[in-house]
Symmetry: C2
Subunit: 120 residues, 2 copies
């Protein structure tokens, strides 16, 4: 089964003003996930922008051509890391990326920005 | 080069009430694109939901593991088909899905919901 990737937007400001001190919330999110105990087969990938700037912090969850990909937003690097880890573990356990609704963390149920079907 | 797919959400309501007569705006978008002259190598794929319901009509543009994928929203099946066709043609001409900003239709510049980097 293909590895699962959490793509983390490192430039998300999460409403902070442009002159706020570094690091940006998106970079703090990356660092918090780097410090977390990620499930086996789940890797992090930083990216400069997921084009969902009004919904930062944002991440994308993907895993090869057979899985649905998801983009989540309005994430808090201080509050949501444990849920992101749990949600990515549930996602990694699927073949198609479709985790039963009740098994998804609330942030994944309520803060989904969009999803894309598996590659043809 | 991998084929390009326009994934069309057929269940988007675009603000119409639940008891509005069928077909839904998302289904009208699919039919309008089916009737259009799509660029070579670009295919349509209907899907029941892209989880961006508040931003309907929505489409996703993808094309194999080497291209960025994009989700666009607030699309009008009566007004935006020509721009979607033009934007998908420009996307299909790239290897990575990154069309220069000025070559993107305005709806793609202003109505991007999110993007996902190429599969690892």
């Amino acid at each position: 089964m293909a590895r699962v990737t959490i793509t983390v937007c490192t430039t998300c400001r999460r409403g902070e003003p442009a002159d706020a001190p570094d690091p940006r919330p998106g970079t703090r999110m990356l660092r918090a996930l780097e410090a977390a105990d990620l499930p086996e087969g789940v890797a992090l990938r930083p990216v400069a922008c997921l084009s969902a700037c009004s919904r930062g912090c944002t991440i994308a969850l993907s895993g090869g051509p057979d899985r649905w990909s998801y983009v989540y937003g309005d994430l808090d690097p201080e509050a949501h890391v444990a849920d992101i880890v749990a949600g990515s573990a549930a996602y990694a356990e699927t073949d198609d990326g479709l985790v039963p609704w009740r098994d998804r963390p609330v942030i994944f149920r309520k803060q989904s920005i969009a999803r894309i079907p598996p590659q043809e």
